[in-house]
Symmetry: C2
């Protein structure tokens, strides 16, 4: 079925939650006038619906393919990506100094949502490029910026993030890739990286790998890690891709979903001829990586929104079309469209409400990125607190909504040709990569509760307390405050044992708070009526569910450690 | 990784929840002595682990294949099925009069769990045969029983259920397949059926299709439906498969999972040469079908247990093996197996507790089948009430546990070779087929709450009230009583709008009640310690979550119908 960009909703959330007008009042974001924002959203919508959405299933069935000469993208993808570059869709959030449009990150977020709802696999490629741009903007030398940023900003070249190695997944500090100094100040890179999304492909003349590696004599763990810029092709004297830089794609993974996105095993320096440049100071790799990773985490949360939106649209269209059974208790024995059956309607309203919740959360976080960029330190703190929520909860919601989407389709949902199954399979990676959702929960209770002496968390709670009107939402905010305060001083085990239920509670509280604001602002038009129905459903049914997590969020870790590890195999 | 049958747990649940000893005290189930039960469970475990489990991934990657001559099973499946027949594993629950072993349905349930944990796709075939046996035992003529049952009882021939047509899914009454009388008292069958699991395959010399169709002049809807026995090959004078009976397999579906199970489109009577026999009276089709379907629903619930058990075993093995990061707060900076990290442990304990909950629920229902067969009318009522819970909630849990299984594996979980993804994909059909879980919820609030004037529900609540000790469990039972009583007299829309959250609440209450019994009965051995940990986790964390559903289960339908259907597309 055709994909329809959620333009009205996007604009509404940008206005009400991001308050993009306030951003545009600053010189830095002066480009974000009402007209420009509308034009960008609409243009991206037309492009995504017209060119990217039709390729979504082809990407799933055909998939990216490994060849000895590199990875080939599925049919149509090379052109679709080229058109994306030429349309300027990669430059939205890039500063004007580097050839970008200088629009707020939140606008880029909305554009990326649309692209990813149309084609999540392909949209992952620009997501990674944006991360590389961020790293270079904040940590690159002037020379690096001048050579690479113009090409990355347009998407002409693409970027990757290289952290993971077989023995170093969540534990980045365990990585072993090495960088040895060369005479000319560059570094010789050696090592194997796994799970590298778009680590190779045939859509761009060059790929810029950002690689974490260890320099000689560096301390163990994360402290000894440095970040390197390693192009697929070294640049010639004119700054054009020249000699092959000894980065070999060994294989691509056979994944459950997201088949259009090649997940590569990359081998650097098999022939001792892989040259990298240090980005930022030696041993400053983790800091630079976090620059990429924080926004990347929001963008993965955004993938939850993408897939939720796409799955909801398809399920709604099916439910409006599929006729089955008379409505129970109705005088008429005529069969009706299944949208008329109460439990189907419950699923659809839940899908819509959860999609809006995920969008509110991720856009809200994106707005903090922009405020932080304007020097608002409170926004920087707020961003830190909501980033793990946006990544983890929005991806959890993407999975829930995609599963409901299958259920609405009944037996058809299990048939691959329908497309609902692809959303479900594609979505399942999002709670895993860019730091598993468990890692996000650990980040929340480990670092974020303590941020700015606890003030970052306290101020979020205070804002929610002031804003919340619905009784259950007030109760949930209060529960979050109590649990959060308790966890802030709890022992490591207790804190981590409760981290995931707490993350969910707090996320629902934030979503409820943001949705309630939207409900108050909604007008009397059809959009407003639908918005209010979704908000009311969220407050009446989903917020109380989160209150049911209080017990788990206040349980001690004892229940988990009472048994020896081997007893789990009993 | 190798599959280990859950023998100790199975035996424990059979003793404590099914109370198989009480069953064996009856002549009908005298065969179910302790020794026999142990031997059957162990033998099935050895067979399933040794012969079926190794084929599980082959079935997923190879899949059943359509050919012009019929469906070919994946490599090794023909022999694996033959060995199942020869081992007598299909005859466990079949009455001795028909060549079976006359053991309780609950024992058959345990055997089928083991087979399905090893290979869910292949185990679906016997599940369907068991349904055909049930239909013939209860509704077949003596001649039909004599001709077909001995071959079906052993599994030498397999059975299918043919309800669904493109326009008749959940609305069975909309079906159009026809049966026209022939001179010899048989019927000429014509029509197309879809979603027919094991509708064709090459593992058996004959396939017995049980087909719902309309006879001439029959009333519309479900009242005009009759059930027909339609073999793939008509029986010759010696009762052996003879002439082809004009049942053509048109295609098989391309499904997200369960690839070893061919899901067929069957065309009956393309050449007007498809002969069927009426089973039971004309227009008695729905009643006969429900005989098959009720047990089939329990067996689908059992698939939830199967996949949960398999996914849990794999995740536990991985978590014991995979070393990553030091434990937070530990004095040692040595990396540990991930089972030592609190949030991984939380996921594993949740997986174990939910698996045990699903098993308790399904086995409990199976025990009611056996008590009902002994003439216990209270058990018949209890069975009716818990059947939708067992089908819907156990399959929901299978999905939840399979998803957690992926999460425990991190990035590895998304790679198909790991196997965790197969469980997740296989599991996703179970909330859909044999009546979607929404249909189960409608059955619960529509028929089961009112059964025996409400006494069937009231007596379950009374039993739980008497048994429950944990405060939250008591509160949940009370909430279920209040909600159930309210829904019993509510309007259709309100009742259906609340049906799914109510089904989940009630299911968790029943599971909590059954698990609490198990916790009290658990001994001081390692199994008992693990059991108590799972029970305590369930009561402390999962029961309170279900209390969070109270709001949704008491909400009116107004919130769902405030918008016109088309507004869902906004």
């Amino acid at each position: 079925m055709p994909f329809t960009p959620a333009l009205v909703e996007q604009r509404f959330v940008l206005d009400q939650i991001v308050r993009v007008g306030d951003l545009a009042a600053n010189d830095r974001f002066a480009a974000a006038s009402n007209d420009v924002v509308d034009a960008v959203l609409e243009g991206a919508g037309q492009f995504a619906a017209g060119e990217w959405a039709p390729l979504n299933r082809i990407g799933d069935t055909g998939g990216a393919k490994w060849t000895p000469d590199g990875v080939n993208m599925p049919d149509g993808y090379v052109q679709a990506y080229r058109d994306y570059v030429e349309g300027g869709w990669g430059t939205i959030g890039v500063p004007e100094a580097w050839g970008g449009q200088g629009l707020p990150f939140a606008i880029q977020t909305a554009v990326l949502e649309t692209l990813g709802s149309a084609n999540m696999g392909l949209a992952l490629c620009p997501t990674l490029t944006v991360g590389a741009v961020e790293a270079l903007v904040h940590h690159g030398s002037q020379a690096q910026q001048a050579l690479y940023l113009p090409h990355l900003a347009t998407g002409e070249w693409t970027g990757t993030m290289n952290l993971t190695e077989p023995q170093a997944g969540s534990d980045v500090g365990a990585l072993r890739a090495t960088a040895s100094p060369r005479d000319d100040g560059t570094w010789s890179i050696k090592g194997t990286k796994i799970y590298i999304s778009f680590g190779d492909h045939d859509m761009a003349p060059n790929i810029v790998h950002l690689v974490l590696a260890r320099t000689p004599g560096s301390p163990p763990g994360t402290k000894g890690i440095s970040l390197f810029l390693v192009p697929k092709y070294r640049l010639d004297a004119d700054g054009r891709p020249g000699d092959f830089n000894d980065v070999r794609v060994v294989s691509i993974e056979h994944k459950m979903g997201l088949h259009a996105s090649p997940t590569c095993v990359l081998s650097f320096g098999d022939h001792d001829d892989c040259v990298g440049e240090l980005i930022g100071p030696e041993h400053g790799g983790m800091r630079a990586m976090f620059t990429m990773m924080n926004n990347a985490r929001l963008n993965v949360g955004l993938q939850g929104v993408q897939v939720a939106e796409a799955a909801t649209q398809q399920a709604v269209a099916y439910a409006l079309d599929r006729v089955q059974s008379a409505r129970t208790g109705s005088a008429s024995r005529e069969s009706v469209a299944i949208v008329e059956h109460p439990d189907v309607r419950r699923m659809l309203l839940r899908m819509k409400a959860q999609t809006q919740a995920a969008r509110a959360l991720v856009y809200y976080a994106a707005g903090q990125v922009d405020r932080a960029a304007l020097g608002d330190t409170a926004a920087r703190d707020r961003l830190e607190v909501v980033t793990p929520l946006a990544k983890a909860h929005a991806t959890d919601l993407g999975n829930e909504v995609a599963s409901l989407g299958i259920q609405v389709h009944g037996g058809m949902g299990y048939i691959e040709e329908t497309g609902a199954a692809q959303f479900f399979r594609d979505a399942r990676i999002t709670p895993i990569y860019e730091g598993t959702n468990g890692i996000q929960a650990a980040d929340l209770v480990g670092r974020k509760l303590a941020l700015s002496g606890g003030e970052a968390f306290a101020s979020l709670v205070a804002d929610m307390r002031r804003g919340a009107e619905h009784e259950d939402l007030k109760a949930l905010v209060e529960a979050c405050e109590l649990v959060g305060t308790r966890l802030a001083t709890a022992g490591h085990d207790d804190r981590l044992a409760a981290s995931y239920p707490f993350l969910t509670m707090l996320s629902v509280a934030v979503c409820g708070w943001l949705l309630e604001q939207q409900g108050r602002a909604a007008g009397d038009d059809p959009f407003g009526a639908t918005k209010r129905a979704c908000v009311d459903f969220y407050l009446a049914q989903i917020v109380p569910e989160a209150l049911g997590l209080r017990a788990a969020a206040t349980a001690s870790a004892d229940i988990l450690y009472r048994l020896p590890a081997q007893a789990f195999a009993i």
